[in-house]
């Protein structure tokens, strides 16, 4: 040993299990962080590659701002007439699925006579020419076993159509699209198949002179007006990146929670060793070690663990990222192969080491304060009970945190200051509760131990005493567990409240019997399948159908002039009244409101009305590709769908302004309950025959559909939180091991008095249960309050939202509490049971 600092390494090696458990905690936290950062980088690069590929040779892309709906008539001509434009290729676009298997395909349509702007190379076959020909991206086609010359049946907006594969191509930038398919058909064919007789969705522009892109872009913007977007492919991918910012922030926040829990583990682990090593630390002090030297000794140990855990965590993070990419793909968000991110690597590494140091700081300072007199005494310092002021501080910090969360929930715009306040708020809540936790531990454990003490009086008593002997330690352990479980609970509360509210609204507002919609319809999650209005005609001819009307959705970044994102919906004012019983503010009747829509007015959701300060009779401005339009507010809808960020208008208006010519779904009402079943059978037969991509849903089925979509999305975040819970599991194991070690002599006495190994095991098992159940109860309590406060905050913006308790989550968290406790006690219980009785009795 050449330096005092090597004592740190010796000390770690002397306690390998503790070092291992602590490292595991850091490892998991860093892994989650790195995994999530890699995932966000991957999502980003997916879109960048996507736009680079699809627009390989194009310099500029003219499209609607929301990449949905058609461009206003005459746009293509105006683009061609703009100076500096060499080529302007009009394209139509539709999401279709394979008739068998339902695999999604992004189907493009261009005029084959024009030069290609995508810059693809043909691997086999040739370019499309005319008729029912299709060319496919090689990777997707190979996976479906589709070669040149083969036929494929696709479910299109006008029903199932057969195409002959004439070519397989490769994008200029070859990468995996996470299973996303791309294909192209002739424009003339698409006009019929997509039911788009006029106009185009997108124009790809090649400029005449290299270097004049910015100039042409300005010229096009002037010529086309504000409602149309003129972007470079890079600009488009940046737009998407910006839209994904919110998702990225949420992902990183959840990952940070794993690290946060990790710091609890480190804090507790070092707090315990410092206590156990008092004599040793005191001896160093008598030999003249300064406080600083002792402090650094502990911090160096922490850094060693932090560096090791971080290094391993970075490796594990790559694996986690692979898993997350697969998970995202499974919930309909395909991303390409993993992208590397140096900033992500640095952030995760710095985060891991910073969190370790932060966790070890208090124990290190405490170690430095060890009195040298400890070296002369055989006993440890008696633990001071926590000061009551700590409970007050904890309560105050918690309240402050709840305030921040409320602010975020009630904010009109969830970015900026409210988002920071909300994120900090959650951390403050957890910090506050863990500060106050030592005061809650004793009563909580006593209550929880009651059943155990009835069933196994001795073991129950010992376990409960052990958990209560050291409220600070129990509190820190339980708090780590609390964080993950509280987030799961709070998140579950949001999900159940959101779902409950939407489902209630369906119950009261839906006068329809069925909804016909594409499978997996999810407005707001990228391009959606659409239905040609021809189907509506056929549905209306089905015997027993009293009324059927189409709805058209457009998720837009600017739902009204100056407002944020939301859902535009087009509906049929003549028929909607018989399909829907929505409630309107100020007691306006639905008839009155629908007359207003027919006259060119709009309905606005309550949330927007509140934010923008508008009421029925006021005028608002719609911003569309066809320009700005002042319209009258016909009514304010009491709705919570899309957070009340909805604007409704007639089908004519959404078509005129936004170019939405196809239907998103069809609402159907049967003439009577007697014919309802017959109608359902007929509709299903119709859909099954010609539209296998659609489904006929009763109102209950529609509710289930939405529920499963919500559950999928929440499931993804729960998977992230699972890692945080796993970190805290290591904390419970660690604490139990320390408790066993400290009570060695007591366990020896028990065994000497005739306790069996099983009884010892049982005592440790009960102690594990007490620790984990305490964490689960705290987590449930904090999570329910957090969720409730969040919903209250949302309510100030969206009054129709109401709180529903997440019963499923509550039960799941309770079960998790039991399972985690038993799992954590396995190893410590084994250790305790195997102790040599004589040695244990002599242990000091």
């Amino acid at each position: 040993m050449r330096r005092l600092s090597s004592l740190s390494g010796r000390s770690l090696r002397a306690r390998p299990l503790r070092a291992l458990l602590t490292t595991a905690g850091i490892l998991l936290g860093v892994a989650l962080m790195f995994g999530v950062l890699l995932l966000t980088a991957t999502i980003d690069s997916t879109f960048r590659n996507l736009f680079d590929s699809v627009y390989g040779k194009a310099d500029l892309v003219v499209a609607t701002p929301d990449d949905a709906g058609g461009l206003p008539g005459g746009t293509l001509e105006r683009v061609r007439a703009t100076e500096g434009v060499r080529q302007a290729q009009g394209a139509l676009f539709s999401v279709v699925v394979t008739a068998r298997g339902g695999h999604e395909l992004n189907l493009n349509a261009v005029d084959p006579a024009e030069p290609d702007t995508a810059g693809v190379t043909y691997v086999s076959g040739r370019r499309i020419r005319s008729g029912a020909e299709i060319e496919l991206e090689e990777g997707w086609a190979n996976e479906r076993g589709l070669g040149v010359g083969e036929r494929t049946r696709l479910a299109t907006p006008t029903g199932v159509r057969a195409f002959r594969v004439v070519g397989l191509f490769r994008f200029s930038r070859s990468f995996g699209f996470g299973g996303e398919g791309f294909g192209t058909i002739p424009l003339e064919t698409a006009r019929e198949v997509f039911d788009r007789p006029r106009g185009v969705d997108e124009i790809r522009v090649v400029v005449a002179e290299a270097g004049s892109v910015a100039e042409v872009q300005r010229a096009l913007r002037r010529a086309l007006g504000k409602g149309v977007s003129v972007e470079t492919p890079q600009g488009k991918s940046e737009e998407v990146s910006e839209q994904l910012q919110a998702l990225n922030v949420v992902l990183v926040f959840f990952a940070a929670m794993g690290l946060f829990v990790g710091s609890f583990l480190i804090f507790n682990s070092f707090q315990i060793t410092v206590l156990q090593r008092q004599r040793e630390l005191g001896m160093l002090r008598t030999l003249g070690a300064s406080r600083r030297q002792v402090r650094r000794l502990i911090l160096r140990e922490a850094i060693a663990l932090g560096v090791l855990g971080t290094a391993l965590g970075l490796g594990a993070g790559a694996l986690i990222a692979v898993g997350l990419v697969a998970l995202l793909g499974a919930i309909g968000f395909p991303v390409s192969g993993l992208a590397f991110s140096t900033p992500g690597l640095v952030a995760a590494a710095v985060g891991g080491i910073a969190v370790t140091l932060l966790g070890a700081l208090v124990p290190a300072v405490r170690a430095g304060r060890t009195s040298p007199i400890r070296a002369l005494l055989g006993v440890s310092e008696s633990r001071r009970p926590p000061r009551p002021s700590r409970a007050l501080l904890g309560a105050a910090v918690t309240a402050l945190g709840l305030g921040g969360v409320f602010w975020l929930a009630s904010a009109e715009d969830a970015g900026g200051a409210p988002a920071i306040a909300g994120g900090l708020g959650v951390i403050l809540i957890f910090t506050g509760v863990s500060l106050a936790a030592p005061f809650l531990i004793s009563p909580l454990v006593r209550v929880l131990a009651w059943p155990a003490r009835r069933l196994a009086p001795i073991e129950g008593r010992l376990a409960s005493d052990s958990a209560r002997a050291n409220p600070g330690r129990t509190a820190a352990t339980a708090s780590g567990l609390m964080i993950g479980l509280a987030l799961v609970t709070a998140f579950g509360s949001l999900g159940s409240s959101f779902l409950g509210t939407v489902q209630d609204e369906f119950d009261t507002a839906f006068a329809r019997d069925f909804t016909i919609q594409p499978r997996g319809l999810s407005p707001g999650a990228g391009p959606q399948q659409t239905i040609s209005p021809r189907l509506l005609e056929r549905v209306r001819r089905v015997p027993g159908v009293e009324v059927a009307a189409a709805e058209r959705f457009l998720f837009t970044e600017e739902v009204l002039d100056g407002a944020g994102e939301g859902l535009l919906l087009g509906l049929d004012p003549e028929r909607y009244g018989r399909l829907d019983d929505s409630a309107f503010a100020g007691g306006r009747s639905e008839e009155e409101v629908l007359r207003g829509l027919a006259a060119g007015g709009v309905t606005v959701g309550e949330a927007i009305a509140k934010e923008e300060g508008v009421a029925a009779g006021d005028t608002v401005v719609l911003v569309s590709p066809a320009g700005r339009r002042r319209v009258e507010v016909a009514g304010v809808v009491e709705t919570s769908i899309f957070g009340g960020q909805t604007v409704g208008m007639s089908l004519e208006l959404i078509e005129e302004l936004y170019g939405i010519e196809r239907d998103s779904d069809i609402a159907v009402k049967a003439a009577s309950q007697d014919v309802r079943d017959d109608v359902e059978r007929e509709l299903e037969a119709l859909v099954e025959r010609d539209y296998p991509n659609l489904q006929v849903l009763s109102n209950d089925e529609l509710k289930d559909e939405i529920e499963s979509q919500v559950n999928q999305q929440f499931g993804f975040f729960n998977a992230l939180l699972f890692v945080a819970v796993l970190v805290s599991l290591f904390g419970v194991i660690n604490t139990l091991l320390m408790n066993v070690l400290e009570r060695t002599r007591e366990i020896g006495v028990l065994r000497a008095l005739g306790s069996s190994r099983w009884q010892v095991r049982r005592a440790i098992g009960i102690e594990g249960l007490l620790l984990s159940m305490t964490g689960a109860l705290l987590g449930l309590a904090v999570g329910l309050v957090l969720g409730w406060v969040f919903v209250q905050g949302i309510q100030t913006a969206v009054p129709t939202v109401s709180y529903s308790a997440p019963w499923g989550t509550i039960v799941a968290v309770g079960i998790a509490g039991v399972v985690l406790g038993l799992l954590a006690s396995l190893l410590p219980a084994r250790r305790a049971a195997r102790m040599d009785v004589i040695e244990a009795l002599q242990y000091e």
Binding site: S11, M283, R285, L287, G288, S290, A375, L376
Partner: protein, 219 residues
Amino acid sequence: MSAVAARELRKIYLQGETEVHALRGVDMTVEAGEFVAIMGPSGSGKSTLLHLVGALDTPTAGELEIAGVPLSGLGEAELTEIRRDRIGFVFQFFNLLPTLTAAENVGLPALIAGERPSGRARELLGVVGLADRADHLPSQLSGGEQQRISIARALLREPELVLADEPTGNLDSASGEIVLDLLRRLADDGQTVVMVTHDDGAAARADRIVRLHDGLVAS
């Protein structure tokens, strides 16, 4: 210059709500090269005196000099320095670091003082008769051997004063004798040693015995 000079030394501390007058005015001088045993029943104040003389604690009143340095008014950092540079400790429970070898344990004070380890640790192991145990871990050594190592450790930085707190309290009598012989030999070579003990046999090996009773020097 005396190794230890205490005048009217008082120490009062709080135990719960009651004031405990552990030392009520102790006068004691230990000359350089002397081997002094401090004796007294439990509660006589001998541990408190040891803490003060060891610069582990500061007196409530009175004056105390260690090797000519007055302790009154010194802060935590200065006390640490005095312990590091002027005092060597020998404990009842040895307090060797279990993860270090015998030689490393002996060399520890040098590392704490920021000095490079030298051959002196092994040399001192020779002095205490354990040259062949240099690379053993404490768990591989007997209690007596561990205590001799802790004496070697106390000597490493050539302190003005070696303080031994019940050095034989945890040893069988044969091992105890070896340890006492060692301390005696050190004193004969000019090392100042102050030993707290309640064993008459051990105290008899010292040059002089200071008896404490109820916080005062009884003889």
